[in-house]
């Protein structure tokens, strides 16, 4: 119990701080007088007082957190913060029930981007800003998660590179201290966000839209302030800017940091994920543009390329914007897009899915297995670039993959059981676990998650958390061994 209270103490502090981040939309509400001012005041008051209470009440249990406490803290932060983040939505939209509001907040903080709201264009600017800010804060939290927590579990992408690989990979421990590393990564994240804002403004967005969409682009969240998403502007220029920044956000921020510090692009080349990520995404874009043009969905190949590129990049990077209803395209393409979302983004980015590095290791393992069958005496190390991975890591990846597939199957079954059709259930499970956002069928790009029942909404919220915390962080808390003294 003491452990729990010690963690609650830290959690209280974080809720307190989180409450203050609502000052940003409150400021906007004051300035534009959009009618959401009181709502944000109330939300801040509740959040801050809850946080303060939790902090002070458990003050005497305060102690240095241990590794296990870290997991608990992460799980609590990611599941409790949405409960406070949903307050403004809950207060402003009376038709929203708790399960929907919580879904929306989880979707924001896990940078998923599936929404239950319609009439986004009618919402006060401050509410939309808050939705964007949730994604951005979630993305920021993710980067820290990748640096500080996942390595302890041995399932984080970075950790695979850290200890095992010799040579140029060693610099992956960016700075000697985690706090310093986190600071460096946030700096990169913030600078890129500012750059993205400026680029959006330059490409023709209003300042408000630029800020909101820069938040959701860098967080790879996919919330938009328009029901039509990027179809609202129908501007190739804006879409190009979005494509570029989505691709940037799909790359490991640690690699960006190295590039920025060394002032040389060499780190991108030596990164084990960037090359494959770019190849997969670009090949898909070009291939499907040709396909869409050939089957006659678009008469002009350039138009086909424009729509294919934007939507494929958006889905592959698990952002979830759309510029057209791609569920009307030949069904192979949306399915391939869902598949891409499963593995394209890099570890340490704000994207979801199993991450490119694990896909690479899995592929490697398949190849190794075949060599071993052909040459029983062969010694085949699992390579990553010039380095070699230990079997411990291979196992971790295989188990991760197993849990990933089982989770998708399980979630699909539960959703089907609760009454959804198979396509909707499967795509919702994949879209939530990959932190992608839009699925197909009932939850497709042209619709929202609003049609789901309360139960289905909770399942989806859980799936998003599961995917975001890379399964083990969340599941470990449910094991009896975790609570044993």
């Amino acid at each position: 119990m003491n452990r729990f209270l010690a963690v609650v103490n830290v959690l209280g502090k974080m809720i307190l701080v989180f409450g203050f981040t609502m000052l940003v939309p409150l400021g906007l509400a004051f300035w534009t007088n959009d009618g959401a001012r009181l709502i944000f005041q109330e939300s801040i008051l509740i959040t801050v007082s809850c946080g303060l209470f939790m902090w002070l009440a458990t003050y005497r249990y305060k102690r240095e957190l241990q590794t296990r406490d870290g997991f608990l803290l992460v799980v609590l932060v990611w599941s409790v913060l949405p409960a406070f983040a949903m307050l403004p939505l809950l207060f402003y939209l009376p038709e929203l029930n708790i399960s929907m509001a919580y879904f929306e907040a989880v979707s924001g903080l896990t940078a998923t981007g599936g929404t239950v709201l319609t009439g986004l264009d009618m919402l006060p600017l401050s509410i939309n800003l808050w939705r964007g800010e949730m994604v951005w804060l979630g993305g920021m939290g993710l980067i820290v998660l990748a640096v500080a927590i996942l390595p302890l579990l041995g399932v984080g992408g970075r950790q695979m590179l850290k200890a095992e690989t010799p040579g140029p990979m060693k610099e992956n421990k960016l700075t000697p201290r985690i706090a310093e590393t986190a600071k460096g990564l946030w700096l990169v994240y913030t600078s890129l966000t500012l750059a993205c804002m400026a680029a959006y403004k330059w490409a023709g967005m209003s300042w408000f839209d630029a800020v909101m969409h820069a938040f959701t682009t860098l967080g790879l969240g996919g919330f938009s302030s328009h029901d039509a998403s990027y179809g609202y502007w129908d501007s190739p220029l804006i879409e190009s800017v979005a494509i570029i920044f989505m691709l940037i956000a799909g790359i490991n921020f640690a690699t960006h940091f190295l590039v920025w510090r060394a002032k040389s692009l060499a780190s991108y080349r030596s990164d084990p994920e960037v090359g494959l990520f770019v190849v997969f995404v670009l090949a898909s874009c070009v291939g499907f543009a040709a396909y869409l043009w050939l089957v006659g969905v678009y008469a002009d190949p350039l138009i086909a390329l424009r729509y294919a590129s934007f939507n494929i990049v958006s889905i592959a990077t698990t952002t979830g914007y759309s510029s057209t209803d791609y569920s009307l395209w030949p069904v192979f393409i949306p399915l391939w897009m869902l598949f891409l979302s499963g593995f394209c983004t890099s570890s340490g980015s704000t994207g979801g899915g199993i991450k490119m590095i694990r896909a690479r290791i899995l592929y490697q393992q398949v190849y190794r297995e075949m060599i071993t069958i052909m040459h029983p005496s062969a010694v085949t190390p699992a390579r990553l670039g010039r380095g070699v991975l230990s079997n411990r890591i291979i196992f971790a990846v295989l188990v991760f993959m197993f849990v990933y597939v089982v989770s998708i199957v399980f979630m699909t079954l539960i959703l089907t059981l609760s009454g959804l059709d198979v396509i909707t259930a499967f795509s919702a499970a994949v879209a939530c676990i990959n932190n992608l956002g839009p699925g197909l069928g009932q939850v497709g790009p042209a619709t929202t998650y609003a049609s789901l029942t309360d139960f289905q909404t909770w399942v989806c919220s859980f799936a998003m958390l599961l995917g975001r915390l890379e399964f083990f962080t969340l599941l470990i808390v449910f094991t009896p061994a975790f609570w044993r003294k």
């Binding site: 029983p376 005496s377 062969a378 010694v379 085949t380 190390p381 390579r383």
Partner: protein
Amino acid sequence: MKIIILGAGQVGSSVAESLVSEANDITMVDVDPERLALLQDRLDLRTVVGNASHPSVLVGAGAEDADMVLAVTAQDETNLVACKLAATMFNTPTKIARIRSSEYLAHPEIFSTVNFSVDFAICPEQILTEYIENLVEFPEALQVLDFAAGKVSLVAVRALNGGPLVGQQLQELRKHVPNVETRVAAIFRKNSPIIPEGDTVIEVEDEVFFIAAAEDIRAVMRELRKMDEPVKRVMIAGGGKIGRRLGVCLEKDYQVRIIEHNYKASERLAAELQNTLVLHGDATDENLLESENIAEMDMFCALTNDDENNIMSALLAKRMGAHKVIALINRRAYVDLVQSGGIDIAISPAQVTIGSLLAYVRHGDVAAVHSLRRGAAEALELVAHGDARSSNVVGRKVEEIQLPKGATIGAIVRGMPVTKGLFGETLGEDEVEHNESSNAQVIIAHHDTVIESEDHVILFVVNRKMIREVEKLFQVNVGFL
């Protein structure tokens, strides 16, 4: 010359043996008195017991007036320190060190005068690797030795039925391959040398040494025997230093498999070699060889550090169908035993390495030395200096040079960068003329070819006893300066 050899191991003893017979004063230093005693029983040299990197030991070995220190102990570090001591304390003119670790070799600057002061760093594993690499490239050859930075090669090949020139006179060669410049330097028939003349008839089983530009080797070999298929698949037994280096060199162009019996070592090997199949097991295990398709291998190289193992696995591989087998054999008795008895090529590491060491011990300006036929014969690359008055070779036609019988001038390379001074001293970095070695021109020697100053002359000497005479010929006559 007064020479101190540090380390009485395989290379140290072979070099000592080779140098003692050339009237040098040799002092051997080693920590093992028994090994030194054995050596002293056999050879006329002085021995000192002690750590080669201790100043007192070096003083005891007479380093004060030594002309050369040859540091060939088992430890790179000892060799480096010994060279530095020799330079700092005794100002020894020539310091040669054996350096095996590629960690050091990758940074040549640590050998410079201000640092470890090593004049020549020799890596036997590297030399052996290049030697074997040549054999893989030319599987028909018994030996391929490079001169003038790879521009000219001396190739030993056994004449076999099916070669158009076999059973013909040597002068027919010119008619057979009119566009190729080559010169047969020597023929060994039943292990005794024959001085090749125009009317010498080549017989089956003759060991023919010819000199040609690197790109003409195949054309000449085709005249002497039926050509094999180019090598595609290579199997290496033993993933030690040599096996690993060879794997690195070959894996780009060939399908390479390496068998290593130590699991940890094979794991390391597999991590380093990207395109090589590393197998864990015993190279003498016929089941492993069978399951890895030994019969399909174009080349099998037994390169472990165990002679018996190499011989057995090579014989086994040959028996099971490997096309050509090479074995690394340290003990001289074994080499004689197995060559031409199942194993195609037996390589003696000491003999291969010794050549590069000898190049620095010779008088005059010697750019390269290769030991041939287990040390009986030698091929040298000498640099001619001076002018018609001061030199016995410069300005003269090949037929006018007073070479001892059994020595042949095979080729001349003109326009090589000058790296040594008039008396064989090494020039500093700034003194070296940096003309591109790619400008160098290969001239296959004819009786009327005139030798110019700074030409690199490639000589074949069938008997080592003539070497002193040949060297003397190439020394600049100081009286005429």
